[in-house]
């Protein structure tokens, strides 16, 4: 337990130092855009490949429920609420944690093992500002964008299942799609994913930055990154969901 607390404390200090470097100039904007671009490109495929089948499945199971009441026309409302509020932010973030988080941990870990980070420090370049801050900031930008794409893909999945496979009426589907969704749901999803992006970036860079023990150490860091980042943002998700859409909503 003491180890756990010590680790959390170090993580807190690390997060604070990185946050400070994100907020104050000079910014390493070139690396920021480069990271945002590569992460975005590498995560688009997985995010779409996961949210689309998920839309199919919700539609399939939702129809099974609503058939009992003869309320098939409520299906699109359920799909849009579920996808936009919860599923797309969570799934997009899981994949970003798996894809981008682990690659950050691997990159920084390899740099630490090869003493490249020490070399940067020796050259009087602040390695947190130069290497870590642009990565975290890039994830905070890319996560909401991927979430938006995930929304679209999930809704497409729902549409394909309901209209294409089950033969519901396309006009009815489109008419009911937006009946329960407010702009606030979209914004809430974007805020959520931004927070998740920050969490994932910080956890990943923390594990990479303090990697020890050669190739095996890097592997272990990557492993821990995915698990801990996922844990952290699922916990954050519960808190944020309660806050945005909680019992009063």
């Amino acid at each position: 337990v003491l180890d756990l607390l010590a680790g959390l404390g170090r993580f807190g200090a690390f997060a604070w130092r990185v946050a400070w470097r994100i907020l104050t100039p000079p910014w390493n904007s070139e690396d920021f855009f480069r990271h945002a671009w590569t992460v975005g490109i590498r995560c688009v495929g997985p995010v779409l490949a996961v949210t689309f089948p998920f839309g199919l499945v919700i539609s399939l199971q939702g129809l099974a429920i609503f058939d009992l009441f003869g309320a098939q026309r409520l299906l699109p409302s359920l799909i849009s609420v579920a996808v936009i509020r919860e599923l797309s932010p969570v799934l997009a973030s899981v994949l970003v944690a798996a894809q981008a988080g682990s690659s950050y941990a691997a990159e920084l870990g390899a740099m630490r093992i090869k003493e490249e980070l020490d070399a940067t420090e020796v050259m009087a370049v602040d390695s947190l500002r130069w290497h870590v801050a642009p990565r975290v900031a890039a994830l905070m930008l890319v996560c909401p964008l991927l979430n938006t794409l995930g929304d679209v893909a999930g809704l497409c999945g729902g549409f394909v299942m309901a209209v294409g496979v089950k033969g519901e009426n396309a006009g009815v589907f489109m008419a009911n799609l937006w009946s329960f969704v407010h702009v606030f749901d979209l914004v809430g999803g974007l805020i959520k994913t931004m927070v998740f992006g920050a969490i994932i970036g910080l956890v990943a860079c923390f594990h990479g930055y303090y990697a020890t023990g050669g190739a095996a150490g890097v592997g272990k860091g990557v492993n821990d990154t995915v698990v801990r980042a996922t844990l952290a943002f699922f916990a954050a998700n519960y808190v944020l969901t309660s806050a945005f859409f909680g019992a009063g909503g």
Partner: protein, 246 residues
């Protein structure tokens, strides 16, 4: 596109190679249970935490979706259907992929980097048999149990959230939850768990087995292992659901 197809073909050949090497032999003695212990017991805390949060969120979102229709009492049904049929097995799979799958990938990739796999071959030990068989049998042993644990944790926490946070009636919740789910749904979850276990094991081991050497190679293999196994698991989840409920 061709790269993806080539990769999948490689995975298929990997499976064939493994089957040829291992199906007729007994697994390496003693290792299967060690792997099962490692995969099962070490993943348990993570799995419990994640499925607890999935349960609470499911209840919150279900409540929000049904309140405009005046159907708060349906939350129990929604949670039971969504949790038991789809989410809990899938969440269990993605956490096992993140925890045990990455560990398999990074261990095997490290062995590749240190040329220990070549050393095994030099000693006339079949690496497929020695490295993959115990992991596969281990994950097959524990995965159904982990999936069941995830199902019940999800149900329990969503019950807690609905009753204590949202103030729903406990007996209505239980009644609707019981009405919605049957033994068949649990069995489907188990089928899914077994399918996911095979996918996770082979994808992770494949990524590790053919990784590039050096720290970046290990990192990349581990990275790819999680992403690809999650994507394939979600796709198969759809296929299994379509076949069984479609």
């Amino acid at each position: 596109m061709t790269a993806v197809l080539a990769w999948l073909g490689g995975l298929a050949w990997f499976f064939v190679d493994w089957a040829r090497a291992s199906l007729r032999c007994r697994p390496p003695p003693g290792q299967t249970f060690a792997e099962a212990y490692k995969i099962g017991v070490q993943s348990l805390p993570v799995l419990l935490t994640i499925s607890a949060f999935v349960g609470t969120n499911l209840a919150l979102q279900g409540y929000n979706a049904f309140v405009p229709l005046g159907g708060q009492h349906l939350v129990g049904m929604f949670v039971a259907l969504a949790g038991v049929r789809e989410l809990a097995p899938l969440i269990a799979a993605s956490m096992i992929a993140a925890k045990a799958g990455t560990e398999m990938a990074s261990q095997i990739a490290v062995m590749r980097t240190r040329e220990q796999i070549d050393a095994l071959e030099v000693m006339a030990v079949n690496p497929y048999w020695w490295l993959i068989t115990p992991r596969l049998y281990g994950i097959l042993l524990v995965m159904p149990a982990l999936s069941l644990i995830a199902v019940f944790t999800t149900l329990f926490t969503s019950y807690c959230a609905s009753v204590y946070q949202l103030g729903l009636n406990p007996s209505t919740f239980l009644q609707f939850a019981r009405q919605a789910t049957h033994l068949k749904d649990l069995a489907t979850g188990e089928v899914k768990a077994i399918v996911f276990a095979v996918i996770i094991c082979f994808v992770s081991c494949y990524c590790g087995f053919f990784s590039e050497k050096g720290p970046e190679g290990v990192g990349k293999a581990t990275n790819r292992a999680v992403v690809v196994s999650c994507v394939i698991c979600v796709t198969f989840n759809y296929l299994v659901s379509q076949v069984l409920y479609g």
